[in-house]
């Protein structure tokens, strides 16, 4: 096993980043114009990076598969973004955010990166406000905050339930500003199909124009992959339909190591599956856990009556409700981290206490806080001394509506039930992938010149991400990290000159892409792409989902191989490759999911411990909590591609904890 160099700067944790910035190599303004940077992805990470680099003077090209950069999946983030501003004067600090993130990640993240993230977090809020992002404000005109899971301070900034939208539109506006100036060329409806590596350095990409099918070549001195996460390997997830792993996977096959592929986040509060036709799952923001209390009936017979439709949540008297998170974790209650909340829901449902027809749901109930927290306060404000229950309800409803209105509407639209009157039903669903391309402190992968930002990289969140930290990380990477760290590499590229695209390496990459597409449109198969994707998703959810074990993972690996073989024999893609053809787009993505899935299971199988989102049933405490093995597994697993159908090679980046003591994570 080789060691890999994470390039963490010397010095104490609070000085590393500032020292680094003072000493990093720079590229002078005159040379920047002659340097081309390719940014794949226009989400928070991609848009912020592209805009910042263009402002600095680099020539930037940006790619996204949607019809506009404004539609990247960051747009769907609801709840908020963390920052150590301490505007609430509740004891927050850079160190505390750093500490919470390391602990929340179950001690599997790199200290230096996380500290840097906490340091730049405050600047992100400043930058966004300057752009005109309309965050929620209090009556004094200052910014408001809310709480998220895994923390005891209020550090989450938000814009109703549409924080991601507002942040992305801010980054998109910065991107648009640079497009208008001619500093960025934007390629919509383009999908990256491969990375081109020349003499060991990333030098360009092959992209497919999704409108006319043309395969195009683009060269650059650096390539930034900001292509989001791979949750759609499970078929059903909260990701957008087009979210895919292909860019990261192609990078892996060109030599970039893949970090911790098995770390998947299952979000506790999503709308449960309603039937076989289901195409995606919808998240109900974690912010709802500020005011929603999670429970199932105490008595089995009540649960059964609810499952059979004979009773509803409202029929169960207070004393027969089991607020199991408040019971098990009194210190954090409903605000325990996601992995803990998800597992607890699964535990109750597996024990037979689920509250919908399939038994795969728990209640998220607002009645108590609506009436007795908000209703009461409003009544007091209005001078109503002994308000009736109805008055409390009416007053509280207005407050809840203002806070979560759009989420409640969304819920109503999908389920046909009114959450102001009956408790919501929720169940965990795949939401985020902590794993991703391995990167060093500079955000560079193991391929020189190839970077990964945002959800596409593995950094910062360890084995479990805290709520409201992905938006923070995406924007930190794009606005405040890459603009510095890329100079370190590009300073040596100023004499390279324009990179030609008629080289054998481009020829080879293009040939592979064309052959694959040719195969798909000509294969005389009998089954649709979705058929295979759904089968894959089921295997992954059952055997590499919320709980995993050795036997299941071994089976999964065999089953995935089987599905993959069948896919290459039987897949059917109608239409041609010279026109707009969404089935073909799907086929190329699912082909990659079918390989990545196996790597995820391989990683999950090798990690003989439980940590964060990775729960191995063999490794748990008597109370059913995750049991880490720091002695053997306090490392990042970075996998190297060795060839198709060949076992990948494991590299370990040992994690050194100098500032935070490794302890068993406890939210009790």
């Amino acid at each position: 096993m080789t060691k890999i160099d994470s390039k963490i700067p010397q010095g104490t944790i609070d000085k590393k980043w500032s020292d680094y910035k003072s000493h990093v190599k720079l590229v002078n303004p005159a040379n920047k114009r002659a340097i081309d940077i390719i940014v794949v992805g226009s989400g928070l990470a991609g848009a912020s990076a592209a805009a910042s680099l263009a402002e600095m003077g680099y020539s930037v090209k940006v790619f996204c598969f949607q019809d506009s950069p404004r539609r990247a999946h960051s747009i769907a983030a609801q709840g908020g973004i963390n920052a150590a501003k301490n505007y609430k004067n509740d004891g927050d600090s850079v160190f505390r955010l750093f500490y919470d993130t390391i602990k929340g990640g179950d001690y599997r993240a790199r200290e230096a990166n996380v500290h840097r993230l906490a340091e730049v977090s405050a600047n992100i809020i400043d930058q966004c406000v300057a752009q005109g992002v309309p965050f929620a404000r209090d009556y004094g005109g200052l910014l408001d905050n809310r709480s998220f899971g895994g923390t005891q301070v209020q550090r989450t900034f938000y814009a109703a339930g549409q924080t991601g939208q507002q942040l992305l539109l801010g980054a998109y506006s910065a991107l648009s500003k640079e497009i208008a100036k001619g500093n960025i060329q934007m390629y919509n409806r383009h999908e990256m199909m491969d990375v081109v590596v020349i003499n060991g350095k990333a030098r360009g990409i092959i992209a497919r124009n999704l409108v006319n099918g043309k395969i195009e070549r683009f060269s650059g001195h650096a390539v930034l992959l900001c292509t989001g996460g791979y949750g759609n390997v499970f078929f059903l997830s909260t990701n957008a339909m087009g979210s895919n792993a292909s860019a990261a996977w192609k990078a892996y096959k060109r030599g970039a190591f893949f970090g911790n592929p098995c770390y998947t986040q299952i979000h506790p509060t999503c709308i449960p599956v309603s039937g076989d036709h289901q195409s995606k799952l919808t998240l109900m923001s974690e912010s709802l856990r500020n005011d929603g209390r999670i429970w199932v009936p105490k008595k089995k017979e009540d649960a059964i009556a609810i499952q059979q439709g004979k009773k509803t949540g409202n029929d169960i008297p207070e004393e027969d409700r089991d607020y199991y998170l408040e019971r098990r974790y009194p210190a954090f209650g409903n605000l325990v981290p996601r992995d803990v909340a998800s597992r607890a829901a699964k535990e109750r449902c597996d024990a037979g206490f689920g509250v919908n027809a399939t038994g795969q749901a728990v209640f998220l109930d607002f009645a108590y806080n609506l009436k007795y927290k908000y209703g009461k306060t409003e009544a007091t404000k209005k001078g109503i001394h002994s308000p009736t229950e109805q008055q409390l309800y009416d007053l509280g409803k207005e407050v809840v509506k203002e806070k979560y209105g759009n989420l409640f509407d969304m819920y109503m639209q999908i389920t046909g039930e009114n959450p102001y009157e009956v408790p919501m039903k929720i169940y965990p669903a795949v939401h985020y992938t902590m794993g991703g391309l391995w990167v060093d402190y500079n955000l560079m992968t193991t391929v020189p010149g190839l970077y990964a930002l945002g959800e596409a990289n593995f950094s910062d969140h360890g084995a479990n991400r805290l709520g409201a930290s992905a938006l923070m990380q995406g924007l930190a990477d794009g606005y405040f990290v890459i603009p510095y760290t890329i100079g370190d590499y590009l300073a040596d590229e100023i004499r390279t000159g324009k990179i030609p695209t008629h080289t054998p390496e481009f020829d080879e990459a293009e040939k592979i892409v064309k052959e694959r597409i040719h195969f798909f449109v000509n294969n005389k198969g009998s089954k649709s792409v979705d058929h295979f994707h759904k089968r894959l998703g089921k295997v992954m959810w059952d055997k590499c989902g919320m709980a995993r074990n050795e036997k299941g993972l071994k089976e999964a690996i065999e089953e995935i191989k089987q599905i993959r073989q069948e896919f290459w024999k039987e897949v059917k893609v109608p239409g041609s490759d010279t026109e707009f053809n969404p089935e073909l787009d799907k086929a190329t993505r699912v082909a990659d999911f079918l390989e990545l899935a196996e790597l995820m299971c391989t990683d999950a199988l090798h990690r003989n411990e439980s940590c964060g989102g990775h729960f191995r049933e063999e490794y748990q405490t008597e109370e059913g909590e995750a049991k880490r093995d720091d002695e053997h597994f306090a490392y990042v697993a970075a996998w190297e591609f060795k060839g198709n159908e060949i076992q990948p090679q494991l590299h370990q980046e040992q994690l050194v904890f100098e500032n935070i003591k490794l302890v068993q994570r406890s939210y009790k």
């Binding site: 404004r70 769907a76 600047n123 910065a174 409108v211 039937g275 036709h277 603009p483 979705d530």
Partner: protein, 249 residues
């Protein structure tokens, strides 16, 4: 339930399109409208026919990608929702449903139900931003904004850029979309400095893209899935007037 669908099929931008009939059966009321189309597409693939192309991504009403004209209404029969949020419980067994793309000069058809909305991006590029570079910002709380203005700016900023307003308007005007961005930034202190140039440039770009004039029918507000208000158009008109009067260019 069983439905008769009449769907616009068009090979590409250069060919004529036409409505084609399809029947889908076993549609459950819990399905979303797009899941119903998924089922139809799955059937078409089985029969070796080409599936129907339509734009979609997030499927939760926020990315603005989905864009169907259903029974003569942008995003279908319900107000306040996008196509992807529409569920089949809004229809009944035996219904005939017409499904067409957005039709407007500014939005040429790419294929079937997919149109090109890049004109919207170009309008934003004409001025829909605050010219602040990364790293140059002061502490966020140094720019207080009254809650009222912040809330109004937020409401305007929730526009998802779907284009339903244009598709609905008999003049194919993009006023609601453009005014939402102009309003958001006009309401905030950060946006005031460039307010005049912004409104002039964005309106000019809107005209260049071939969108029609606004004759205040108000149809756009009714069909906008995000409830963007006509107030924004009024505000933009004021901003525009002030900018023209005081413009030195």
């Amino acid at each position: 339930m069983k439905l008769l669908l009449k769907i616009w099929r068009q090979k590409n931008a250069n060919t004529q399109g036409k409505l084609v009939e399809y029947v889908v059966d076993h549609v459950s009321p819990d399905m979303s409208f797009l899941e119903m189309l998924d089922v139809l597409n799955e059937n078409l693939v089985d029969k070796n026919e080409e599936p129907i192309a339509f734009d979609h991504d997030c499927r939760e009403g926020i990315c603005g990608m989905c864009s169907l004209y259903i029974n003569g209404r942008a995003h279908g029969p319900q107000t306040g929702v996008t196509t992807c949020q529409l569920h089949m419980r809004s229809f009944k067994d035996g219904d005939t449903i017409y499904i067409e793309p957005w039709k407007a000069n500014g939005f040429p058809v790419i294929r079937d139900l997919v149109v090109d909305r890049s004109a919207f991006d170009r309008i934003i590029q004409a001025g829909g931003y605050v010219s602040v570079n990364t790293g140059a910002a002061q502490d966020a709380n140094c720019i207080p904004v009254s809650k009222q203005d912040a809330d109004k700016a937020f409401s305007a900023a929730t526009c998802i850029g779907c284009g339903a307003c244009v598709a609905t308007c008999k003049n194919a005007s993009a006023m609601l979309f453009v005014s939402a961005k102009v309003s958001q930034l006009a309401l905030l202190p950060q946006g005031k400095i460039e307010a005049k140039d912004r409104v002039l440039n964005m309106v000019k770009q809107m005209d260049t893209e071939g969108f029609g004039n606004c004759t205040n029918t108000g149809a756009c507000e009714i069909e906008c899935p995000k409830g963007i208000s006509l107030e924004n158009i009024a505000r933009m008109n004021r901003e525009y007037l002030v900018a023209t009067l005081s413009s030195e260019k």
